[in-house]
Symmetry: C2
Subunit: 382 residues, 2 copies
């Protein structure tokens, strides 16, 4: 049982100018904090979330023992990121469906839910909104900003947009931009959602329906790309659906194209179903697009070294050998560009079997690397 | 311009018993032949097709210069598989939508289209049906059976089911079974089709609709897995939609979640659209399931060596370094199991950038390997 935490929300009068040229007239951000901010505000660690997560990074909500934060194995009292020492902030991004201003909230211009009219937000927009929260909390400079996957992109973006406010950036299982294949998977997921007849052009809330079919497909695709082929083979292999899933165990094929035949199928269907019950379709579109757009080298003609010249933070990068979504090679691109700029960089390539998901899982070496790094950060604190 | 060919069809009174226990009371097979059968019937080469192909392997149809067969670069007069020397047979599998008996044909029991009631067919069923065609053509033993991907599985299955009828088996970019990840991708594609409201439980023909949304998603997923990340990056990278696709060229983001932003998106959408216009949804389900089920080692407790002991043919296996759908490691499993049985095996691992699609493309080394192998087969002919 983890420590009990409470979600908070802060309203900002805005306006927040966005990368697209649009502005949000005002907005709210959901967030949580763990630990205690030092008097000089110097021990703050901002944690940025990835695609389907939220500000609920660690701990549990009172009376809800299942509500464990998504990085609770990493962050908490005595953990790798020790909340006895650091003041950790989990924040929910704009456009999310977990509390911060997003597509299901009213569009001030119409009074109706934004739906698909919610403005496209970028990693940079998120960072700017996060900066406003830090201002309000009285945090001038972060001891560290950290995140995995899309969260790692935000940590990198922090080091570029607000170099003077970041002492350390911890970028885990991330990439300096998506590859064509990454974008392709995102696009298939988006098309599945957008072409679901229940999507109604993104204004399904007022129709009382949810584009569940599309969300299920999107999540199933996501799940495949989060895991390594090896781990899937080890967990499911070619095993047939068994009694575990509530159906009668069988040892021979059903010879059916629509029934569940293999365990991997029931796993995917189960996860797709679950996801479609809690995740918002418009949020999925927005967040995958933020991933697509992220590319700090773009403004520098594709030169990542030039793009990262602005960053003054010290960096920890971590990648996982079997991550084929954001492969170690992509982390190494960042490492190289930082080293070319003579920045201080630590890099760990963890030999873990779990693919991209590894960044969320317990791994002794991975946790050890992060713990050591934060111990060092802690020692630097005044 | 290639040589002119004509599609043929043959009706079989049946019944054909299927792996599932069902039987097809009668059936027709579409096929094509190129070259001339020797008097002793010894120069026949059977070509098995993969997921979305057909009996139209080589040549063009009269007056249709665009109708080039899918392996026309490999097969024809003077080509790697030389139709001046070999009698080549292209065959369309049961359950297909390109001419052989399939879901859009009448179910004799009801007089209405089979739709989703078409019996599930396996690689083994296809091989048995192909054998009936060879009987009718007077071919006792094949000089070679060959195929890529799912076609390679059929070639392997031929060597196991009818060892006495196969002199050589040529198995290209294939695998002894699907991995969990392979099955997972198939399952997502199937769910996209089956949950399309226009699927109508597989009886959409009589509704006058087509589950296009699902077919598009299925094809987009397929396309991603057929190509290597590197080739996608080289072809499309992060390039924005350009004038090539008929839209105005633009150099900045549109900031839209639904419009085409990147070239890779318009490529995928274009291919998805095109596929949904010519491919049948029920056929897609059947063929992906045949892939899922193929696993000759299964009847031998997972022991591929034991499973391949029946094969007496000589083998050529070819794999491609960047094929992540059916990786070289999977071909090597087959090679090893054959060598463990002291069979004659040639194996080429071609360093090609194109991923799984490489088996359909021109590559000097690949074509050279196949040409040499068939030269050798030719020399063995009486």
């Amino acid at each position: 049982m983890s420590f009990v935490v409470t979600a908070q929300s802060m309203h900002f009068p805005g306006p927040l100018p966005l990368s697209s040229g649009a502005t949000l007239s005002d907005y709210s951000l959901a967030y949580e904090t763990y630990g205690k901010l030092d008097a000089d505000g110097g021990n703050a660690v901002l944690v940025c979330h990835a695609l389907n997560a939220s500000h609920h990074v660690a701990g549990v909500y009172a009376g809800q023992p299942q509500s464990v934060g998504w990085w609770d194995n990493m962050i908490g009292p005595g953990k790798a990121v020790d909340t006895d020492r650091f003041f950790v902030i989990g924040i929910n991004n704009l456009g999310s469906c977990f509390g911060s201003t997003g597509p299901m909230h009213p569009n001030p211009a119409t009074g109706r839910a934004w739906g698909a009219d919610f403005p496209v937000v970028t990693v940079e927009d998120w960072v700017d909104a996060q900066a406003a929260l830090l201002d309000a909390l009285g945090i001038r400079k972060l001891a560290a900003v950290m995140g995995g996957s899309l969260g790692g992109m935000q940590a990198l973006s922090w080091a570029l947009r607000h170099p003077e406010r970041v002492e350390h950036a911890v970028v885990i299982a991330s990439a300096p931009s998506l590859t064509a294949q990454n974008i392709a998977f995102n696009e298939v997921a988006r098309r599945a959602i957008v072409t679901d007849p229940d999507f109604h052009g993104g204004h399904f809330y007022e129709q009382g329906v949810i584009p569940r079919r599309g969300l299920r497909i999107a999540r199933m695709i996501g799940h495949i790309t989060y895991q390594s082929d090896d781990v899937m083979n080890e967990k499911f292999g070619r095993s047939l659906r068994s009694a575990v899933e509530g159906a009668a165990a069988h040892t021979d094929f059903l010879y059916s194209t629509q029934e569940v035949e293999f365990q991997i199928e029931s796993y995917l269907r189960y996860n797709g179903d679950k996801f479609s019950e809690y995740f918002d379709a418009n949020t999925y579109l927005l967040i995958t697009r933020a991933l697509d757009y992220f590319d700090p080298a773009r403004a520098h003609g594709g030169d990542l070294r030039a793009a990262l010249a602005r960053a003054t933070a010290k960096f920890l990068l971590v990648s996982f050998t079997t991550d084929w979504r954001f492969s170690p090679a992509r982390s190494r691109e960042i490492v190289k560009a930082l080293l070319d700029n003579r920045r201080k960089v630590s890099y760990a390539e963890i030999d873990a079997p779990h693919g991209h998901d590894a960044f969320l899982l317990d791994d002794v070496r991975y946790m050890g690397v992060v713990r050591s790094y934060f111990d060092r950060i802690g020692k630097e604190l005044p």
